[in-house]
C-alpha cells in the first residue's frame, strides 16, 4: 500500500467539563489511502466533527497521532493546510460577495498567484456549473449552488485531500446528486482523496470505505458491501395494520434475527426468507393483523447502521 493520505493512530481528544472529563475521540485509528472516498458516519455526537477537526489541526489533540500526506496535524499545520481543502459543517460563504469575489477571496487566503487564479477560477466555476453566475451574490444562490460554490472554493489551491463535514446538509435530492457527481469526477479524473462526514446513508454507500464511529471509537471500518454483509440473514419488509403488535409478534417467532421499524413499515431479518415469509403471514393472520405483501429487499447501509449501533448499545447500555 502507498503511504496513506490520512492516518490517525490512537487519536485521543478529551474535553474538561464541570462534570469531569469527556472523551470525545477515544483512541481512534484509521487510514485513508490516496484516491479513496472515505465516509465517516455515526450517531449525533459520536465524534465525527471532532475527529475531522483534529485531523486538520483545528483542535489540539490530547494524545495519539494524526497526519495528512505525511504532515503532522499539529506540528506541520501550514504545510498541511496548503495541501488540504476543507468544508466545515454549516459553513457560510460571505453572502455579500459575488460568486467570483468568493473565489478570489478563497484564492487570496490560500495565496494562489494571480496568473494561476486567472486560469483556475473559470475552470472551477465551469466544473461546478456556476460559470453563468459569476456576478451573483453568494447570499442569493440556491442551497445546492452554495454547496457547489463551497466545493469550488475549497479546491482553489489544488489540494490533494479534501475533508468535507456534512457538505450536503439541507440540500434537495437533485442538488445532492449533482454534488456527488462532482465528487465522483474529482476522484476519477484527479485521484483526489475525499474524507466526508455524512448523516445520509445513501451517500455513505457511494464511499469506497466507511468508518462507523460510536462514542468516539471507530467500531467498524470497511467497504459498504462488507458492512452490509455483517447483517445476519435476509430482510423482509411489510406494512402491518397494528405496528406494535406485529413487531412483538415477529420478535417472538422462530428464525427471526432482528426486527426494525420505519414509519408504519416493519423490516424483519430472517434466517430463511421462503420459510419464514409463510410463517410470519400465518402468525399475522392468526392474530388477525392485516398486512400487505411481504417483500424481500436488499439490505442498505441504512439498515446496517441501525443494526450495528443497536448491537453496540446493547453491550454498552447507551442512549439509543
Amino acid at each position: 500500500m502507498n503511504e496513506p493520505a490520512i492516518i490517525t493512530q490512537d487519536l485521543l481528544k478529551e474535553f474538561k467539563t464541570p462534570k469531569g472529563i469527556l472523551t470525545a475521540v477515544d483512541h481512534l485509528s484509521l487510514q485513508v489511502a490516496p484516491g479513496e472516498t472515505f465516509g465517516l458516519i455515526g450517531p449525533d455526537g459520536a465524534g465525527k466533527s471532532t475527529t475531522t477537526r483534529l485531523i486538520l489541526g483545528l483542535l489540539t489533540r490530547t494524545g495519539g497521532e494524526s497526519r495528512v500526506l505525511g504532515f503532522d496535524s499539529m506540528r506541520d499545520m501550514y504545510q498541511l493546510r496548503a495541501r488540504v481543502g476543507y468544508i466545515a459543517q454549516q459553513f457560510s460563504l460571505p453572502p455579500n460577495l459575488t460568486v467570483m469575489e468568493n473565489m478570489q477571496f478563497s484564492a487570496g487566503v490560500q495565496s494562489v498567484r494571480p496568473e494561476e487564479q486567472k486560469k483556475r477560477i473559470p475552470e472551477l466555476l465551469e466544473f461546478a456549473g456556476l460559470g453563468g453566475f459569476t456576478k451573483r451574490l453568494a447570499g442569493k444562490l440556491s442551497g445546492g449552488m452554495k454547496k457547489k460554490l463551497a466545493l469550488a472554493c475549497c479546491l482553489i489551491h489544488e489540494p490533494q485531500v479534501v475533508l468535507l463535514d456534512e457538505p450536503t446538509l439541507g440540500v434537495d435530492p437533485v442538488s445532492r446528486r449533482e454534488f456527488w457527481n462532482l465528487l465522483g469526477n474529482l476522484r476519477a479524473e484527479k485521484g483526489l482523496t475525499i474524507f466526508v462526514c455524512t448523516p445520509y446513508m445513501d451517500e455513505a454507500e457511494r464511499c469506497t470505505r466507511v468508518g462507523l464511529i460510536y462514542e468516539g471509537r471507530l467500531i467498524v471500518n470497511d467497504t459498504p458491501a462488507k458492512i452490509k454483509a455483517m447483517l445476519p440473514g435476509h430482510m423482509l419488509e411489510f406494512t402491518p395494520a397494528a405496528l406494535e403488535r406485529a413487531r412483538a409478534l415477529c420478535s417472538s417467532l422462530e428464525g427471526i434475527l432482528e426486527v426494525q421499524s420505519y414509519g408504519d413499515k416493519l423490516h424483519v431479518f430472517v434466517d430463511n426468507p421462503t420459510l419464514r415469509n409463510q410463517q410470519i403471514i400465518n402468525a399475522l393472520d392468526e392474530q388477525g393483523i392485516a398486512h400487505d405483501v411481504l417483500r424481500e429487499l436488499e439490505v442498505r447501509m441504512e439498515e446496517a447502521f441501525i443494526s450495528l449501533i443497536r448491537r453496540q448499545t446493547a453491550t454498552n447500555g447507551g442512549d439509543h
Binding site: G42, D44, G144, D319
Partner: protein, 326 residues
C-alpha cells in the same frame, strides 16, 4: 364555487389550499396551487430548495398573506383567522426553536404556557410528552447539552404540548442520524393514528416513501400529487436501468459523455448509492448498447437491470420535466 360548498369543503379537510399564489415583487414563489389533506393523513410536501414549500406552510400558518387564493386549516381561513389557527396547530421547523439555557421540562412548560395551558393541565401533559419523546431521565438536563436526536424529539414535544389537531413539520429530520430519524417517524405515525393530520417536508426520499400521499412542488407549481406507488407509475418519464460496476465513477464519466454527445438517449445518469441509475425511453432496448459502451471503455459491468423507479428517480424526473416546460 359557492361560499357554502367552500365552507363545507374546508371543514371536511383539516388542510385545504385553493388556487394559492404568492408573489414577491416579480418573483413567483407559489403559483395557483390547490390540494387538500384528509384527517389523520401523513402528507409529504416535497420539492427542491426554493420551490415554495416553506412559503406554502407560512401561508397556511397565517404568518404570510397570499397574493391570491385561499388556505384553510381546520375550516379556518389562515389569512383572517390566524390566531385561532395557531391555537390548534403545531409547527416545528428545521431550526428547532428551543431555549438552550432551559431544561427539557422547562422548554415544554414554556411552550405549554405560550398556548395558555394551566399548571394543572401541564402537570398531566408534561410526563406524557416526556414519555412520548423518550426524554424520561433527561427532563432536567439543560437543552444545550442534548444531542441532535434528543433536541429534535424535544422540539416535537414542544410543538404538540397543546394537543394540536394539525401538525406542520418543515424539514424536521435534517442532519439527524438514521436511528433518531426512525424514532421520529414512529412518533409521527403514532400521532397520525390518533387522528392528527401531518404535513411534513423532507429531503430524504426514503422518508417521503413513508407518507401516505405526497405533493411535488417545483418553481412554485404543483407538478404531481398522489400516493407514492401511483407517482412511480405515472410521473416517471422513461424507464430506469440500474448498473452495477466495480468502477461507478469511470462508468459515470463514460455515460455522461454519451449523454452529451447524444450517442445514447439517456435522460438522466446518476450515482445512486453504489449503483448507477440511467433513465432511457425503453429499458430492454438499451441494456445491450449500454453494456457495449462500457465494455468498449474497458469498464467492467457486473449487471444491468431494469428496475422500478425509486421515489428519488421520480423526484428528479418531475423536477426536470418542470424545468423543460418553463
Amino acid at each position: 364555487m359557492t361560499i357554502e360548498t367552500r365552507i363545507s369543503q374546508s371543514q371536511a379537510f383539516p388542510i385545504l389550499v385553493q388556487h394559492l399564489s404568492k408573489r414577491f415583487g416579480s418573483f413567483i414563489a407559489v403559483e395557483d396551487v390547490s390540494f387538500s389533506i384528509q384527517p389523520g393523513e401523513v402528507f409529504g410536501w416535497l420539492g427542491p430548495n426554493g420551490a415554495g414549500k416553506t412559503t406554502t406552510i407560512r401561508i397556511l400558518l397565517g404568518l404570510m398573506k397570499p397574493t391570491s387564493g385561499e388556505a384553510y386549516v381546520l375550516g379556518l381561513n389562515s389569512a383572517t383567522q390566524s390566531k385561532t389557527v395557531h391555537a390548534q396547530v403545531g409547527y416545528m421547523s428545521q431550526q428547532f426553536t428551543l431555549y438552550n439555557d432551559l431544561t427539557a421540562r422547562q422548554n415544554i412548560r414554556f411552550y405549554g404556557g405560550v398556548h395558555g395551558m394551566s399548571s394543572r393541565e401541564l402537570r398531566q401533559r408534561i410526563p406524557e410528552i416526556l414519555s412520548m419523546a423518550g426524554l424520561e431521565g433527561r427532563e432536567n438536563v439543560l437543552t444545550s447539552s442534548l444531542s441532535g436526536g434528543w433536541k429534535q424529539r424535544l422540539a416535537l414535544g414542544c410543538a404538540i404540548v397543546h394537543r394540536p389537531r394539525v401538525l406542520f413539520l418543515d424539514e424536521p429530520t435534517a442532519g439527524v442520524d438514521p436511528i433518531s430519524r426512525r424514532q421520529f417517524w414512529e412518533l409521527i405515525y403514532q400521532m397520525a393514528k390518533e387522528g392528527v393530520t401531518v404535513l411534513v417536508t423532507t429531503h430524504y426520499m426514503d422518508e417521503a416513501e413513508l407518507c401516505q400521499r405526497v405533493g411535488f412542488i417545483n418553481a412554485g407549481h404543483l407538478v404531481a400529487l398522489d400516493s407514492v406507488a401511483q407517482l412511480k407509475r405515472t410521473q416517471m418519464r422513461g424507464q430506469v436501468l440500474e448498473i452495477n460496476t466495480p468502477d461507478p465513477e469511470k462508468a459515470m464519466l463514460a455515460l455522461s459523455a454519451a449523454r452529451q454527445e447524444k450517442s445514447l438517449p439517456l435522460d438522466e445518469a446518476a450515482l445512486y448509492g453504489a449503483q448507477i441509475h440511467v433513465v432511457v425511453p425503453d429499458a430492454q432496448q438499451y441494456i445491450e448498447p449500454i453494456q457495449r459502451l462500457l465494455t468498449s471503455r474497458k469498464i467492467q459491468v457486473s449487471s444491468i437491470e431494469w428496475i422500478q423507479p425509486t421515489l428519488e428517480d421520480v423526484f428528479i424526473s418531475a423536477v426536470k420535466s418542470g424545468q423543460t416546460k418553463q
